[in-house]
């Protein structure tokens, strides 16, 4: 008789921790008057992203993020919303990527991205009651406030090229991955902020510096955990950006997709708001000292 499948069995402790963490996340948002919602996972179109590909499902697609549905609910009068859901991104498989993974998204009206940074600090403290995340014998201290660094400052401090040089040579992602990310968020978590405006199609530009967007990414232990914006609320500008990104996609040989017209139409009613997407699997990796994302899910695609 065969032994039990050890590759599955060895994840038992991680799955127990996973269930507990997700329960704690739900409790955290419930206490703060956030309404948990579920929106359809199979949709007519996602927001056009130059570098994210959806999985087709008959003539529709699986969601790459619930973002548009969440914002339509805000435009319909909801104030504080959260969702824990599956999303799919074609071809993304690595030690920190799964093509099907779990996102936590939360949205808050009458708030900007600074408020979400504060909320990230509070959420992590609620999940790690010792006030630190232990990783391979060293502590990542969670006591607020966490470090904040702009993308331009990060390039100046850590990279061999300036931000402008990296952008004009099309080496932004390479420098970010190889030279900057490995330095972020080791003693305490870090918010990398003020992304170039063209890298944030759904974010509001910073009023006093329109060349950057009010966007941040949360890094803990070198791992990108969350992405947040002060949301763009101008439907005219949003349509222009979508059309530009869709043209980029089609120019790169990707299949054309319809623009999310209902979202654009209802966007007139979108209040000032901020929203964030946090990778639950990566958060669980950090809280359980897992080196590979496949260690914190019941089955990887390869195990099916």
């Amino acid at each position: 008789m065969n032994e039990i499948n050890w590759a599955i069995a060895r994840k038992r402790e991680k799955l127990i921790a996973r269930a507990r963490i997700i329960q704690q996340i739900r409790a955290f948002f419930a206490q703060r008057d956030y309404l948990e919602v579920e929106t359809p996972q199979r949709i007519p179109a996602n927001a056009p992203e130059p570098h994210i590909d959806a999985v087709p499902s008959n003539d529709w697609v699986l969601q790459t993020s619930p973002e548009l549905a969440m914002k339509r609910l805000l435009a319909a009068g909801h104030q504080r919303l959260f969702q824990i859901c599956r999303v799919w991104r074609q071809g993304e498989r690595g030690s920190q990527h799964l093509p099907e993974f779990t996102l936590l998204e939360w949205y808050r009206s009458q708030a900007n991205y600074s408020a979400l940074m504060d909320e990230c600090e509070q959420l992590l403290l609620a999940l790690a009651p010792t006030g630190a995340i232990n990783w391979q014998g060293t502590d990542i201290q969670l006591t607020p406030p966490w470090d904040r660094l702009t993308v331009a400052e990060a390039f100046e401090r850590y990279a061999s090229l300036s931000l402008q040089q990296a952008l004009s040579n099309d080496r932004f992602e390479e420098i970010l991955t190889d030279e900057i990310e490995p330095r972020l968020g080791y003693k305490r978590p870090l918010f990398l902020t003020e992304y170039p405006a063209e890298m944030a199609a759904l974010a509001r530009k910073k009023p006093e510096h329109p060349e950057v967007a009010e966007r941040f990414e949360l890094y803990i232990n070198g791992l990108e955990v969350a992405n947040a914006f002060s949301e763009l609320t101008d439907p005219v500008e949003q349509r222009q950006r979508f059309e530009q990104d869709e043209a980029t996609r089609v120019g790169a040989g990707k299949p054309p997709q319809p623009l999310p017209e209902k979202f654009l139409r209802e966007m007139h009613h979108l209040p000032d708001c901020a929203g964030i997407a946090l990778g639950i699997d990566r958060l669980i990796m950090l809280l359980t000292e897992a080196k590979r994302i496949g260690d914190v899910v019941a089955f990887t695609p390869e195990e099916l």
Binding site: R10, R12, H51, E92, G94, F172, E173, E174, E217
Partner: protein, 187 residues
């Protein structure tokens, strides 16, 4: 031609006319940006290891290598010695060139040796190999959780994670493609 979507551990490609094998592979994509395909490549002629990052849109020429059915004989100071099962000619491959595959060779194992002209430059192993555990900490009494693991070293010197109930002297099956434990083997 291969595209980035084909890249994975073990894939063999030509770079500057020389065959290379992907020894380690990872996919990454920072902040909604372009995908990066990070490879640790081994030059199959000289064993040199180096890192290279590729981006979507790049393409790769497959290294099409002749495969010969051979038997692994023994290791000596020059490397690992194999014998062609048709011609009885012997081929030696250095340990650096074999990489981790050298840990999964068992005496008399039948393998496919990859040839570059007259030279043997790699092996295709059976998917599973049985090796004996030579060192591992004892099972802590009371540790009954099915998922707990610990490091173990097998007879070839390779170290891997095994379940806590695997003890020294036990024969285990290893997946040579991932290098991971599969099961204990009944003897």
């Amino acid at each position: 031609m291969y595209s980035c979507a084909d890249l994975k551990k073990g894939l063999k490609i030509l770079i500057n006319g020389e065959p290379h094998v992907i020894a380690q592979f990872d996919f990454t994509k920072p902040g909604k940006g372009q995908a990066l395909y990070k490879c640790k490549l081994r030059n199959m002629l000289n064993g040199a290891l180096f890192d290279r990052t590729y981006r979507s849109g790049e393409s790769f020429e497959p290294a099409s290598l002749e495969e010969c059915d051979m038997q692994y004989l023994y290791q000596d100071e020059t490397g690992y010695v194999f014998m062609d099962q048709k011609t009885y000619e012997q081929v030696t491959i250095e340990g650096d060139v074999l990489g981790d595959d050298k840990y999964f060779l068992v005496d008399n194992m039948e393998v496919k040796v990859l040839m570059f002209g007259e030279r043997g430059i790699g092996v295709t192993l059976p998917n599973f190999v049985n090796l004996r555990v030579t060192q591992s900490d004892p099972w802590v009494k009371g540790d009954t959780a099915a998922g707990n693991n610990k490091p173990a070293t097998v007879e070839s010197g390779y170290t891997l994670q095994v379940p806590s109930f695997v003890e020294e002297g036990v024969l285990i099956q290893i997946d040579t493609r991932t290098g991971e434990y599969v099961t204990r083997v009944k003897e």
